[in-house]
Amino acid sequence: MTNSWVDIRNANIVLSMGGNSAEAHPVGFRWVMQAKERSDAILISIDPRYNRTTAVADYHAWIRTGTDIAFLGGLISYLIESDRYNREYVEAYTDAAHLVREGFEFHDGLFTGYDEARHQYDKATWNFDLDEQGFARRDETLQHPRCVFQLMRRHYSRYSVEMVERICGMPQAKVLQLWDLLAQSAAPDKTMTILYALGWTQHSVGAQMIRTGAMVQLLLGNMGMPGGGVNALRGHSNIQGLTDIGLLSNLLTGYMTLPAAGAQDYRGYIQEKVRQPLLPNQVSYWKYYERFFVSTMKAFYGDAATVENDWCYHWLPKLSEPLYDVLYAVNDMTKGTMTGAICQGFNILAAFPNKAKVLDGLSKLRYLVIMDPLANETGEFWKNHGEFNDVDPSQIQTTVFRLPTSCFAEDDGSITNSSRWLQWHHRAVPPPGEAKTDNAILAGLFQRLQKLYQEEGGAFPEPILNLTWEYSDPAHPAAAELAQEYNGRALADIEDQGRIIRRKGELLNDFGDLRADGSTSCGCWIYSGAWTEQGNMMDRRDNSDPYDIGVTLGWAWAWPLNRRILYNRASARPDGTPWDPNRALIWWSGERWVGADVPDYPIAAAPEEDIKPFILSESGTGHFFASEWLGEGPFPEHYEPLESPIPNNPLHPQNPLAYHNPVARVFAEDRDTFGTFEEFPYAATTYRLTEHFHYWTTHVLLNAIVQPEKFVEIGEVLAGELGIAAGEKVRVRSKRGHIDAVAVVTKRLRPLQVDGRTVHQVGIPIHWGFTGVAKKAHLTNTLTPFVGDGNTQTPEFKSFLVNVEKL
């Protein structure tokens, strides 16, 4: 989230799209109801289903799954053409005035540089027109035909209300009604918040859907505002933290990236990562990349990391692909090129698409290690569970270890919520039986490995032998020790302008203390400040909100630097006064920035200095034009899901290359696993229910009682056509398999008119499996397609095709 849960209460308009927050985050949703109660906010719910959020919404619309870019792209065009955007904000705080270099074009669904064979773009032209000093040229009048604003305007001019109706299946009158409501937040004293979750991410164009939402918020002047922002509600309790710490194939901690194989030279790697300002006088905080990197390497390798060996740069593994995500790994498993896997609290058999393929992959491993508090499906993939997992154990040669871990109640440490708050928790009781904490198990594995390498030698032992391990109990690194390690320490006295600011051995105060000369160690730069000489900042419990604006700076600790609303400089006008006096967050006092939040900005930089508010970006501006950051192009474009219920992309009916996401990664092994709408006529989408949490709560009796059995949701009209009554059993098939479930027949799903066709949508909750106390069932992911978003490889769980039959 750019903002926070409590901040939602400051909104005038709450747009729930690509998420169902009442269902998935009921307690966070309280703040939506508070917005309605406190400021008569309106809640707008746009979703394929009339869902629990819709139940308390003021306005709602059904939308065909996977078409949100069309709706939002049309909104962008509407806002521009009807002059209902925050012009002052757009001029001062965005890249609208930047000129884009010659050669960048968009034609019939594709941007310049498409390589059909590789399904990739050459992005050379996707950039700004730079002057001699390397700064972007600008036209402050926004009139230049190659300025971002005009290019954007042209790009979305195709997204007429008629086109939106054809793609989304939303009647024009409804589209216009919603656009008019959303446009109201262009006023400086009105803000809109966007609440989204996996309903946007889990598409082959997921990242671009989110970007379109962000562009709308920039146009309306809602970024940085209390009650504004683009808010990823996120799924799991610490998925924010795991991402911050970089447990993804291509990341180091704090969103630094691992080197590509071609980056054979340390200096070249750093120079590529260091982002120099694109406009004069801007912060461009990534220019300090080397400080973050060197400090991380010092945390990992201590004295072994020296300037002479480039801080052990070559000890890091290097990438030959953009990502080695779970889909990639599972695909390799099925090819027989993988030996082992460690699943730490991750039930991949249930959670990943095309269960048959995941099962095949796991069956080809030599070993599988499960670390989990619960006896889940992945651990028992080899076991015959009747029709729900019909395998022959004698044919599966994988050795499977199941190691019991503690759960949250039995372990200390911090987790990071979607508001970026690191909240510390305390162990209440010991784990059951012989279960151990994850730290103890990881340490047990690593220390044994280290011992074997000491005794036997082996492949490239240096990083294993030199990994820092300065824990009081080496067999069980304490959470407090690890937290201090990622916060960082001075390895020598640290000076600033001739004054010693940190003594050798002291904990760092924040990432401003970091140095690139090896004199600081810091495991995760964005978490620097979490555990300082003042103590454990994550365990603070002062819930006071002195400005009554929903900002509790004394509660826990938020990254970065305890800031609660990102880009909060943009909550004030260029002259430093709040856009809305009743929603003042920070403002210029005449000497410094002050207010309810920690300024996300140089604290003493006067408004006249014209330092722009988005300090991580190279030009300090919010970007409508994404340059080369995303795979599909600088402006989001609507493409159909890989399995679409219509025969072409209505925007580009003649160009088959622009039917689906042109850079979607489809493995050769999976080409035959996609169905067509002739065979599988209904658009399906999967989701969570409020009574359950993924596959965990089928092991939880209380939750099993209140939602006991697998069901699918079918609209009354479709059910009528198929002769299905509520409570009857149905079989849902996709090209990849079938599941059986009880039919919930509902008015909440309706057929949509899409480009002259009637499209029925079928809703499939993800819960229930073949273990636990709830009724046993087929895993929903038996049905889902093995394809991911073009940038993140998040599987397209939200849009695929099925058929339904009565059993």
Binding site: V27, R30, L233, R234, G235, H236, S237, N238, I239, G241, I245, L247, L248, S249, T253, L258, F300, W315, P317, K318, G340, F346, R366, K383, P393, S394, T399, V400, F401, R402, L403, P404, F408, A409, G413, T416, S418, A428, V429, G433, E434, A435, K436, L445, R448, L452, G458, A459, P463, I464, T468, G523, T552, W555, H699, T771, G772, T792, T794, P795
Partner: protein
């Protein structure tokens, strides 16, 4: 009247209703015909603060345990409710959080290390030492056999591509950091988490 009536006798007798009421009217009633509220179950409980393990709202929880932490006492959690001080949740919990007691105490909790040998259809209990020694041996054999120091184009890449690690969304930042350190030191690139699901 000094006849002492057991509950069951009284119950049977009174089943017709009319009669029982008349009995009571006459001043005859079992000696416990008074109100009694349930014993207040939180009396004497030990409270710990925690953060919910399910979604990313991060609600505050109070875990109520029996036992005082004494060396001979095996404490157990018997009730969970919301932490009213928490700025987001203010004491509330959703149906997952409100039911988390049955997660902590689920019959599905794994209680000791187990192994399933190739081709068999059962779990066997093993010791921690056996489990870790065997896992580490398989990991090292695989790493030593398949470690890539250079790619096909001769780039120094130092990576181990044949074992994957997927990490838990509910583990702490401290565990995540330890995981990051260890996996990169081993050269693992096939590292992922649940951000996508």
């Amino acid at each position: 009247m000094s006849v002492r009536v057991s509950r069951r006798q009284f119950l049977k007798f009174g089943a017709a209703g009319l009669g029982a009421s008349s009995m009571a009217m006459m001043g005859f009633a079992p000696d416990q015909a008074l109100a009694s509220v349930r014993h207040f179950k939180l009396s004497g409980a030990k409270v710990s603060r925690n953060i919910c393990t399910y979604c990313s709202v991060g609600c505050g929880m109070l875990l109520y345990a029996r036992g005082d932490g004494a060396i001979n006492s095996h404490d157990h959690i018997f009730h969970v409710e919301g932490d009213p001080d928490h700025p987001v949740s203010r004491g509330s919990l959703c149906p997952r959080g409100a039911g988390v007691l049955d997660f902590i105490r689920s019959d599905s909790r794994v209680r000791y290390p187990q192994v399933r040998e190739p081709g068999t259809d059962e779990w066997k209990r093993i010791s921690w030492d056996d489990a870790l020694e065997r896992i580490v041996r398989m990991m090292k054999d695989d790493r030593d056999r398949n470690f890539e120091t250079h790619d096909e184009e001769g780039h120094l890449v130092n990576r181990w591509m044949t074992t994957a690690m997927v990490a838990a969304s509910a583990c702490t930042n401290e565990t995540a950091y330890l995981t990051q350190k260890i996996t990169r030191a081993l050269g693992i690139l096939k590292l992922d988490n649940q951000a996508r699901v």
